[in-house]
């Protein structure tokens, strides 16, 4: 589906016409990310992060395939094979550091992409499916990142695997057998390392598949925009190419610069020193921390320290951590406001920023050791997190009075420019 005024694909070259007649792939690309896709003209730079996430996925897949050519998934040699890549393989240090920091860059842009969606109400009708597929991608990313972090077989790899698979042992009855099934043993070892490697190689391609569905679902209603008003006519849109390819190009440049600074100047900034020690099943590091993108969820896990009702604290933590992500699936129905953009939702805007601060606070708590005051901060932070999505959002979407909205995207754009020119006059 597309808008009736969308550009039609006209093959410029007879070869392209020949191909297009037999396999309309050029037409498909043209309509998906080319001049055939009309996009609201008022997108700001926060709309870059979807394309950037795609770029990050591509970088991870390419560098990952290369690393797999040199990596050995065997508990005896895995650690040394990573160091072999760092020391002996031609440009191996570059490819390994790019993959390592590429994971962080991927999460940075995906988090910004999610926050963009939260602020501008991109999860609302008619784009619920886009949002649901996005949450699936997020979950797959977390699984992939976790298994990837195990592969270098350092101390954090090993103890991360131990702790994360330990979540499952919280489940009453089936927990322990399930953990042993996941690990293929009683502790992380060869069996676990091999299956994690296999799945770490597979899942990115599953992510790629879901990304294609995500984009497909997006193209049914078309992109949302900062006003949250749906496209009404041709004036409201510009063709994706060249307008947004150029704008995304700028974003890509900035993204790559930050990526390059991390990779070449501070490659271990986001890593952990203990992971340069080979896995030792007999000695736990003093302070186990997951990678930074898991900190908020790790803080929620540790916030539950009381056996409440008939559920013990450990299980509460595990349930809450998974619930913290799972509730995103229900977001389109928790927020009942018909207005999408927080620009016109004064109450929601305030709570959005509180939520952002809260997630930041949870992140810091997840990084710190389980000591006061971080324990109580993480408990308060977790209370707000659940309250925000499950209680505050449903209530404010009832009681809030939206600000007056412009009649169309074009009207909003012209009003903005009129403001500017009257200000300069």
């Amino acid at each position: 589906m597309s808008f009736p005024w969308a550009n039609q694909y006209q093959p410029k070259h007879p070869v392209m016409k020949w191909v297009d007649d037999r396999l309309p792939l050029p037409r498909f690309v043209y309509n998906a990310v080319g001049a055939g896709y009309p996009v609201p003209r008022n997108l700001n730079y926060f709309w870059n992060f979807g394309v950037l996430a795609g770029a990050a996925l591509a970088i991870q897949i390419v560098t990952g395939i290369v690393l797999a050519m040199h990596y050995a998934a065997n508990a005896g040699v895995a650690f040394n094979s990573v160091e072999h890549i760092m020391r002996d393989v031609n440009a191996g240090w570059f490819i390994r550091y790019a993959h390592m920091n590429g994971a962080s860059m991927f999460f940075i842009v995906v988090y910004l992409h999610i926050f963009r969606g939260l602020y501008y109400g991109s999860y609302k009708a008619p784009r619920e499916m886009v949002w649901l597929l996005g949450v699936v991608i997020f979950l797959l990313m977390m699984a992939t990142a976790f298994m990837g972090y195990v592969l270098p077989w350092g101390q954090m790899s090993f103890w991360g695997a131990q702790v994360i698979t330990g979540f499952f042992s919280a489940i009453p009855g089936v927990g322990e057998p399930m953990r042993q099934w996941l690990l293929g043993g009683f502790a992380p070892d060869n069996a676990a390392l091999n299956r994690f490697f296999s799945l770490h190689y597979l899942l990115p391609f599953v992510i790629l598949g879901v990304v294609i569905l995500h984009i497909w679902a997006l193209h049914i209603p078309g992109s949302s925009n900062p006003t949250g008003i749906e496209v009404k006519d041709e004036q409201d849109t510009v063709p994706f190419h060249p307008y947004y390819t150029a704008k995304d190009g700028v974003g890509l440049g900035v993204f790559l610069m930050i990526f390059a600074v991390l990779t070449f100047f501070t490659p271990n900034l986001l890593g952990h020193a203990d992971n340069y020690i080979q896995a030792n099943p007999l000695s736990t590091p003093a302070h186990i921390v997951p990678e930074w993108y898991f900190w908020p969820f790790y803080a929620i896990l540790r916030a539950f320290t009381f056996n409440f009702l008939w559920i013990d604290a450990k299980l509460w933590g595990v349930i809450a951590m998974f619930a913290a992500i799972a509730l995103l699936f229900f977001l389109p129905w928790l927020d009942g406001s018909p207005v999408k953009s927080s620009t016109y939702r004064p109450l929601n805007k305030i709570f959005f920023w509180i939520l952002l601060f809260d997630i930041g606070l949870l992140g810091v708590c997840g990084m710190m050791p389980a000591e006061q005051p971080w324990v109580i901060f993480s408990q308060i932070g977790a209370i707000y997190y659940f309250a925000h999505f499950l209680i505050i959002l449903p209530i404010i979407s009832r009681i809030e009075r939206p600000l007056p909205m412009p009649g169309s995207i074009t009207e909003a754009v012209l009003a903005k420019h009129a403001d500017k020119s009257s200000a300069t006059a």
Binding site: V62, V66, H70, D88, N90, A91, F94, I95
Partner: protein, 185 residues
């Protein structure tokens, strides 16, 4: 507001400038993409630890006349043969015009050490290991080596004489560190 004529001139000028900048941006991106492909290709070349295994020392004092040993260099088989004088004569008798890759035995050995024939044990056809280095193996129609995969026959100087292989068995770079030790690589 700009007058109409000014606008028109601006557009015309703008079109040219715009094309130039866009072409520049796209080609600059292309150069970058090309530069990043290089390390991705280069990573498949032998790594530093593999290249470091480039020399091997072999003790040849135990090889009797007429015998050969199989050893390895860079993870490839190497044949070291102590030629008999009959084998040397036979190799020297062959007219160069009969050879697919004309080389004398002297060219394939070190001066004063013509009885020591050092070659890779890799058939130049498709890379099988020829027979003939071990006691009692088939040495082919010309008394040197015989590759069982596709029937290449090498003579006593390990030169190709019959069969599909295009060239003689390769002589690796080597030196005599002493009378009894050969340094390959």
């Amino acid at each position: 507001m700009a007058s109409e004529s000014e606008l028109k001139a601006g557009v015309e000028d703008g079109v040219r400038r715009r094309d130039f900048i866009n072409i520049a941006a796209v080609s600059f991106a292309g150069v970058g993409a090309g530069a990043v492909v290089l390390p991705l290709i280069n990573q498949m070349n032998p790594s530093a630890d593999v290249l470091a295994l480039s020399s091997t020392e072999i003790d040849i004092s135990q090889i009797q006349t007429g015998q050969a040993i199989k050893t390895t260099w860079r993870k490839q088989p190497v044949f070291i043969r102590n030629l008999t004088s009959a084998e040397i004569d036979e190799a020297n008798k062959v007219p160069l015009s009969d050879l697919r890759q004309p080389q004398t035995l002297a060219e394939r050995t070190k001066p004063g050490k013509e009885n020591w024939l050092v070659t890779l044990g890799v058939c130049t056809h498709l890379g099988c290991v020829p027979l003939g280095a071990a006691e009692g193996e088939n040495r082919g129609d010309f008394g040197g080596y015989f590759c069982p995969c596709h029937g290449s026959h090498y003579d006593t100087a390990a030169r190709i004489r019959k069969g599909p292989a295009p060239t003689n068995l390769v002589v690796p770079p080597y030196e005599f560190s002493s009378d009894t030790v050969v340094m390959i690589g």
